[in-house]
C-alpha cells in the first residue's frame, strides 16, 4: 500500500510481529485514527481533583477536539464542547477557572455550565424560539473510575469498566498508596511538544528494552538503582491487559528486595508520618505490602500513562506532532511523600527532564526514520519465544520483551478495522 490509497487495508499494514512504517506518518491514517480511535473509544480526559468545587472547569481535549471538563452547578462532571452553537465561536478562552455560566464574546449568548442556553442578546430577534435546541455540544458518554474521568464520543459501546478490564487493578494499586485511597492532581501540568507521531509514545511507555540505553546517562551520574530493573537479569514483567492496555510490572523486583518505599528510592525512616498514616489506614501488614509493591507503571490505551510517580496524558495534534502533558502524582493524606513526588517529577520529566527529554529525542528520530521506506517494516519479535500467560490469563514476558507493543498493535488493528 502506498499510503495514499483511499481506504488502507490495515491487515496488510499490521501483522502480529511487524508493522509498516507508513502507519506512523501517513496523514490519512492519522485522520482515520481520530475517527476510529480518538472519537470512538474511551479516552482519558482529566481527574476529578482538577475541578474540586462546584462551577470549577478546566480545558482538556479528546484527540484534536477541545473539551471543557466542568463540575457543573448541579454537582455533575460534564464534558462540554468549547464551541458556541450560534456561529461556532470558541466559547471559553481560559485554561481553567470557576464560573456558573459561559458567555460567548461574539454575540453574548450565555450558557449555564450544564450546557443549557440561558439567554441571547436582543432576544426579540428570535421571536419565541425554543432555547433548548441551542445547548452546547457535549461528549455523549462520560465515565469515571475512582476519580479518573474518561469520555467517549460513541453513543454506544463497551462500558468504561469493560474497556479498562484488568487495568482497573493497576488503578486500584495506585490509589492504595494514599492513606485515604485518593489521588489529587494539584501541581499543574507541564506541556511538552514533540514533532513525532503519538504512537511512538504509546509504544515506548511500557518498553523496558530502551532505558539502559536511552537513560544510561542518568543511571551513570546518579546512584539510581533503576537501571538494573531494565536489564537482562531483572525479574520485572511486561503485561498485556487486553484492549491495548499494557503494563511494566516491577513488583517481582520490589518483592524480591522486600523493603518498603524502595520503589521510590527511599526508605521508611525518611517518611515517618507517611508510614504511620499508612499503617493506621491499612494495618501494619497490608501497609507494608503496599509500600513494598509501590505504584504501577501502566499505559492505558490510548492516552493515559501512569509512571510510578507521575501521570502523563498524550494528545495527538497532527500526524507528526504530539503533546505530552505531565504532572506529579499527589496522594491525599501524604504531604511528606507528595513533596518528593513533585521534586522527582520536575527533575525527570517535561521539556527539560533528565529522562523525558531523551525519550522525546528518540520519538523525533523515530519519526524521521519512519518516513524512509526501506526497510518497510518495524519489527516487534522480541521475547516471542518466551511469551506466556499469568494466573489471570494475561500475556506476560520478560521486562525487556515486546509483549506490550504487540498488544497495542493487536488492539489498534481491531479498532481500525471495526
Amino acid at each position: 500500500m502506498s499510503g495514499q490509497s483511499p481506504n488502507p487495508d490495515y491487515r496488510t499494514l499490521i501483522e502480529p510481529t511487524r508493522v509498516r512504517s507508513v502507519v506512523y506518518h501517513d496523514p490519512q491514517i492519522f485522520e482515520q485514527e481520530l475517527e476510529r480511535i480518538w472519537h470512538r473509544t474511551w479516552v482519558y480526559v482529566g481527574h476529578i481533583s482538577e475541578v474540586p468545587n462546584k462551577n470549577d472547569y478546566v480545558t482538556k481535549s479528546i484527540g484534536s477536539t477541545p473539551v471543557l471538563m466542568v463540575h457543573d452547578r448541579d454537582g455533575k462532571i460534564s464534558l462540554l464542547l468549547n464551541k458556541c452553537p450560534h456561529r461556532g465561536n470558541q466559547l471559553c478562552a481560559y485554561r481553567q477557572g470557576n464560573r456558573g455560566t459561559f458567555t460567548c464574546p461574539y454575540h453574548s449568548w450565555t450558557f449555564a455550565n450544564t450546557g443549557d442556553l440561558i439567554g441571547y442578546a436582543y432576544a426579540d430577534g428570535y421571536g419565541d424560539a425554543d432555547k433548548s435546541g441551542f445547548s452546547l455540544g457535549r461528549v455523549p458518554r462520560v465515565g469515571i473510575y475512582r476519580g479518573f474521568v474518561f469520555g467517549s464520543f460513541a453513543n454506544e459501546g463497551p462500558s468504561l469498566e469493560e474497556h479498562l478490564g484488568g487495568a482497573t487493578a493497576s488503578i486500584d494499586q495506585l490509589l492504595e498508596n494514599s492513606p485515604e485511597g485518593e489521588l489529587e492532581l494539584t501541581a499543574g501540568f507541564l506541556q511538552h511538544r514533540t514533532k513525532a507521531n503519538w504512537k511512538f509514545m504509546l509504544e515506548n511507555e511500557t518498553d523496558g528494552y530502551h532505558p539502559a540505553f536511552v537513560h544510561g546517562s542518568v543511571f551513570q551520574v546518579t546512584d539510581s538503582g533503576i537501571g538494573k530493573l531494565y536489564g537482562p537479569q531483572s525479574t520485572a514483567l511486561t503485561r498485556d491487559f487486553g484492549n491495548g492496555h499494557t503494563e511494566f510490572d516491577l513488583r517481582p523486583e520490589w518483592r524480591r528486595i522486600g523493603k518498603p518505599l524502595e520503589w521510590f528510592g527511599t526508605s521508611e525512616t525518611r517518611f515517618p508520618q507517611y508510614v504511620k498514616a499508612m499503617e493506621q489506614a491499612y494495618g501494619t501488614e497490608r501497609a507494608r505490602r503496599i509500600m513494598i509493591d509501590g505504584t504501577p507503571h501502566i499505559m492505558i490505551f490510548p492516552n493515559l500513562f501512569i509512571a510510578e510517580i507521575q501521570l502523563f496524558v498524550l494528545q495527538p495534534i497532527a500526524v507528526d506532532e504530539t503533546i505530552q502533558h505531565v504532572t506529579a502524582l499527589q496522594f491525599k493524606g501524604a504531604p511528606e511523600l507528595n513533596r518528593r513526588l513533585r521534586q522527582q517529577t520536575m527533575g525527570s520529566v517535561g521539556p527539560a527532564g533528565l529522562l523525558l527529554a531523551d525519550d522525546t529525542e528518540m520519538y523525533e528520530r523515530n519519526h524521521r526514520g519512519a518516513v524512509i521506506n526501506d526497510p518497510e517494516w518495524v519489527t516487534l519479535t522480541r521475547g516471542l519465544h518466551r511469551e506466556r500467560r499469568d494466573e489471570n490469563g494475561y500475556r506476560i514476558g520478560h521486562s525487556t520483551d515486546e509483549v506490550p507493543q504487540r498488544a497495542i498493535w493487536r488492539h489498534y488493528t481491531e479498532l481500525m478495522t471495526a
Binding site: 501540568f189 520536575m346 517535561g350 527539560a352 529525542e361
Partner: protein, 172 residues
Amino acid sequence: MPQSTATAMLHLEAEQTDLLRRVEQFLFLEARLQDTHAYDEWEALWADDATYWVPANGSDTDPERQMSIIYDNRSRIGVRIDQLKTGRRHTQTPRSELARIISNVELVTRVGDEIEVRANAIIFEDNLRGETLWASRNEYRLRITDGGFKLVRKKVGLVNNHKPIFTLSFLI
C-alpha cells in the same frame, strides 16, 4: 538604588553605572558559556546555595507546590551538568547550535552583598528538529565576591511557558 523600574536608570550614580557594567559583563559571560556548552565553567558561576528556576504556567507560581520546567538546587544543577558531560545526553548529541542576546539589563535592588537584576533574553536554537526561537524575562540574584559575582538565583520566565514547548535541553 530605587525600586521603581521606571526611574531606575535615571537615578544611577557613577558608582552604580560601574556596577551595571560589571553585571552586564557577567551576564554576557554566562550567555557565552551557555551558548558554547562550556559546562564546567558555567557550573562554576553558581553559589553553593543556588536555585535555578524555569517556571511553567506563568511566572508567579509557587515552585514548592506547582510544577516547573526546571527547579534545581545546587546539587541537581550538578547532576544536570554531569549528565550533559556523559556524551550520552541524546537530546544534546549532537549539541544545539545557539546564539543568544541578553538585553534590557536593569539593576533592581541591592541588599548587603547581593543584587537583584532583571534582563530579557532571546535565544536562537538550531538542532536536529529544526530552528526554535526562545524568549524570556529573566531575574537574577547575584552575590558580589572578590572575584566578581556568583549566581545565587536565576529565574527564567519563558514568555510562552503556559503553552506546549519543545524539548529544552541546552542551558537556558
